[in-house]
């Protein structure tokens, strides 16, 4: 996402709202990518034969070089007079060639580089060379003793360079030769959770202390043990020093607009015009507009919801008992009052749907309930259709563009879509199932602490199964469990595994109003399963009541003794 804030991306962006957004961007984006391989490469400098201090010194130099390359790219874009065809010029400056050369020479001098020519390309090549020489230097000094190593590093001019000071210097130089005094530069770091911890520490510590021409945009997963404590007065604090922008959606509806826009853009790209999501995908089963419940279309005799309620009324005595106790007849929900419809029926509709879908009709009868759990049955659904339709697809992909694109790419290939019709529900269900399976494969292979005896996916499966049992197998309740709180009885191994799950998007943090969205510990925090996994464990797509995680895991442990066959991926 931060990539999109770079000048070339903004200029190349074609969208009805593009001009409006471009106008609002009063800074130059300087994008610094991070990924897992680069992070381990930094940590592997010296191939395990260097002391940690030397690894840090050389790693920091490499990081500084990477930031300097990004700054050079941004400078070069600002003063490039050639706007590619079809692009809209944004924040470009007209700078004479002599001033550009002077800028390059000044940067080279300050950054201790010797480009062959006074051009940005040559300067960039010098930085590439420096990057390579850092790895060579690490190999070389790994054969030295500690004292010789320290002396050698001290001789290297770039090792001592402070990263952000070098950026400030560059901005000063840019203003001197190109103008634009006081302009802002947004250093944008993506996927910071993957970066070495000292990179995060440096950036988080710098937020309140550096030049006000520099804006930090730091994208990272919510959980990190090295996030500054909120009660540490020396650290930057939310609201005062930085704004937190939550990029996940606790309530599924909040992500729909983004997902719909992405759907439109991708269908437009595929066939030359945007197709409304409802036209191609139909409506989600879990959904109905709030107005439908009050205005009378959702519950009318013969409507989808009316049929669902009547079906469960007949099949599930505990549901019948629940509705009877509040004075509603499940076969005639249209007779319920307007308030009852909005407050009660709408709330329980997803649970009714899940129970109808997955429950055998006699599940609640005393004779079945007396049976051991293993002997009770649920309906077999390889790819349940329940998670299809526009809203459900948007919900299960959680507003994650990578997930959504993965599913949309499959759906727009099918003949029904190309013919302008609705993509078959089984095809949609299979696409969701595939996406969930891929995600499960990632989680199954997530590296854990050596002491862990259970994987991330196994823990999540326990949570999913618990919710499924509560929603489908147990006697009907209007407010079944749908989320969990990590309580004090949870082991550090499980917390570590859940930290991985959170940062991979497998669980979603549900903060209270006043809670910081960046967290150092999971304890006492509430989470829900990602809806992509909910589809895997046949959970309704809803944020349900919370229960302590230890209660879930205790139950799972008891259940395992009953040898319940594994369900899900």
């Amino acid at each position: 996402m931060l990539k999109m804030l770079q000048q070339p991306a903004l200029e190349a962006w074609h969208h009805p709202s593009a001009s409006e957004y471009r106008d609002r961007i009063d800074y130059t984006g300087v994008f610094i990518p991070t990924d897992i391989t680069w992070s381990v490469q930094l940590n592997s400098l010296g191939a395990g034969r260097l002391d940690s201090s030397s690894v840090f010194s050389l790693g920091y130099a490499a990081f500084t070089t990477q930031v300097q390359r990004a700054v050079i790219r941004a400078f070069s874009n600002r003063i490039d007079a050639n706007v590619p065809q079809g692009w809209v010029s944004h924040r470009r400056m007209n700078v004479p060639a002599s001033a550009q050369s002077d800028l390059v020479l000044t940067l080279a001098e300050g950054w201790r580089l010797t480009p062959r020519l006074p051009t940005f390309e040559a300067l960039n090549l010098s930085l590439s060379h420096r990057l390579m020489s850092i790895a060579e230097e690490a190999r070389r000094i790994s054969a030295f003793d500690q004292n010789k190593r320290a002396a050698r590093l001290a001789e290297n001019p770039f090792v001592a360079t402070n990263c952000l000071a070098s950026v400030t210097y560059a901005i000063d130089a840019f203003e001197s030769y190109c103008g634009g005094a006081g302009g802002k530069w947004a250093l944008s770091f993506d996927e910071l959770e993957l970066a070495p911890h000292w990179v995060r520490e440096e950036l988080l510590a710098s937020i309140r202390s550096v030049d006000d021409r520099i804006v930090f945009k730091l994208a990272m997963s919510p959980y990190n043990q090295d996030i500054p404590r909120v009660d540490d007065v020396t650290s930057a604090s939310p609201d005062n020093d930085y704004d937190q922008i939550v990029l996940w959606y606790v309530e599924k509806e909040h992500g729909y607009a983004f997902s719909e826009a992405l759907w439109s853009a991708l269908t437009d790209k595929a066939i030359g015009h945007a197709v409304p999501a409802h036209q191609a995908l139909g409506y989600g089963f879990f959904e109905s507009e709030p107005d439908e419940w009050t205005d009378g279309t959702a519950y009318a005799p013969g409507s989808r919801h009316a049929k669902n309620f009547a079906k469960l009324w007949d099949a599930d005595p505990t549901f019948k008992e629940y509705l009877s106790n509040i004075g509603i007849d499940g076969r005639f929900i249209h007779e319920a009052s307007r308030d009852e419809r909005a407050a009660v029926l709408r709330k329980i509709a997803p649970v009714v749907l899940a129970r109808n879908e997955f429950r055998t009709s006699d599940e609640s009868t005393p004779s079945v309930r007396r049976k051991p759990r293993i002997e009770r049955t649920v309906r077999s659904r390889k790819n349940p259709l329940l998670y299809t339709g526009a809203e459900s697809l948007f919900a299960v992909t959680e507003g994650n563009p990578r997930w959504l694109i993965g599913i949309i790419d499959q759906l727009i290939q099918v003949p029904q879509f190309k013919a302008g019709g609705e993509v078959g529900r089984p095809l949609q269900a299979r696409a969701v199932s595939r996406a969930a399976h891929r995600f499960a494969a990632l989680l199954r292979n997530a590296p854990l602490q050596q002491t862990a005896d259970r994987g991330v996916l196994a823990i999540l499966a326990d949570i999913g199964s618990y919710i499924f049992d509560h929603v489908v197998r147990e006697p009907f309740t209007a407010d079944p469990v749908g989320s969990f709180i990590v309580d004090s009885h949870i082991s550090t191994e499980v917390q570590h595994a859940l930290g991985i799950a959170l940062n991979m998007g497998a669980i979603v943090y549900v903060p209270d109003e006043e809670q910081n969205v960046l967290i150092r510990s999971l304890k006492g925090k509430r989470f829900r399963l990602s809806y992509l996994l909910a589809a895997n464990y046949w959970n309704p797509i809803r944020l349900g009541r919370a229960v302590s995680l230890s209660a879930i895991l205790r139950r799972a442990s008891d259940t395992q003794q009953e040898l319940l066959p594994e369900r899900g991926p």
């Binding site: 897992i36 490469q41 940590n43 399976h437 292979n445």
Partner: protein, 310 residues
């Protein structure tokens, strides 16, 4: 140090100065030991999972005159030292060393290749691999590690280049898919081993069925013959070289160790490439793989800088 990889037709009458094998729970780990000559013979012994054929392997290997060293100790230094000291009595010709990598871990293979690269001694090494009969894949255990196969082969390249992953397939269910999802490459090059065993190929296909839908337009599928490692090396080398100018290259060798050897040799001679492994470590379920009788290999010349090619 220059590294030159050559084809090899393994012959049982080959004479070596140094022979290195491993002792593990797979029956095939002692298959080659009786055929390997050498003035110095070293067997690296796994310190965990002494099950299946481990005891018998140890008996065979000790009877063949191998000196055992612990797999958890500094055995790589010991091997390197042995190579250096033997080279002193073989002046004028490269030291002949045999490595039976069949049951070695990927990390051991990587550490050994790096050690040979860094000894400063002219070495002509035969890396030998015994193909095993098919055994059904075990239940996938918990992953304990995902990262460079050894810090020496973490790779080093410009981080703003897009990532290409060259992935060797194994038959562990969804491990390749999970690894690809973890690294999020912009392009995926998948290498499927072609075996003479149809059961193996079926297991391979079943374990990776969902990999193909990951990003079809950015996934490129190749096959390689387990029995023709030199061809595999050349194939990998030319692909990686072609990618290097515009992309970072990471190699992730799941599946047969002979493919892992190819990736390690490639990265040992080009520091930009990284080689990763995804492993359950000691939690990997032990499977008793039995030698099928076919041995394949690569001959690798490690030449100190400035020395002439023999």
């Amino acid at each position: 140090m220059d590294i030159t990889v050559e084809p090899l037709e393994p012959a049982f009458d080959e004479t070596y100065d140094v022979a290195i094998v491993s002792v593990g729970y797979e029956q095939r780990s002692s298959f080659l030991a009786p055929t390997l000559s050498g003035d110095a013979k070293i067997a690296i012994v796994f310190t965990d999972r002494h099950v299946h054929s481990f005891d018998e392997n140890l008996r065979v290997i000790e009877r063949c005159g191998f000196r055992t060293v612990s797999g958890s100790g500094a055995f790589v230094e010991e091997i390197a030292e042995s190579v250096r000291s033997r080279s002193l009595v073989t002046p004028g010709r490269p030291l002949r060393v045999a490595f039976d990598i069949s049951s070695m871990t990927r990390q051991w293979i990587a550490d050994i290749v790096c050690a040979m690269r860094d000894t400063g001694v002219r070495v002509s090494a035969d890396f030998l691999y015994t193909i095993a009969h098919f055994t059904a894949p075990p239940e996938p255990p918990l992953t304990q590690y995902a990262g460079p196969v050894t810090p020496q082969l973490a790779g080093w390249d410009e981080p703003d280049k897009p990532l290409s992953l060259l992935l060797g397939l194994g038959y562990e269910k969804d491990r390749a898919l999970g690894a690809a999802e973890l690294l999020e490459p912009s392009e995926l090059y998948v290498f499927s081993p072609v075996s003479i065993d149809i059961d193996y190929e079926r297991a391979l296909e079943a374990a990776n069925v969902d990999l193909w839908g990951l990003a079809p337009t950015h996934t490129h599928r190749f096959t390689y013959q387990i029995s023709r490692p030199f061809d595999t090396f050349v194939q990998l080398e030319s692909l990686a070289e072609g990618l290097l100018r515009r992309r970072r290259v990471v190699l992730l060798p799941l599946g047969p160790k002979i493919f892992a050897l190819c990736t390690v040799l490639l990265a040992a001679s080009q520091s930009a490439y990284g080689v990763w492994r995804v492993s359950a470590g000691e939690h990997e379920t032990p499977v008793d793989r039995k030698a099928a009788g076919t041995v394949v290999g690569l001959r690798v010349q490690f030449l100190p800088e400035g020395s002439a090619v023999p």
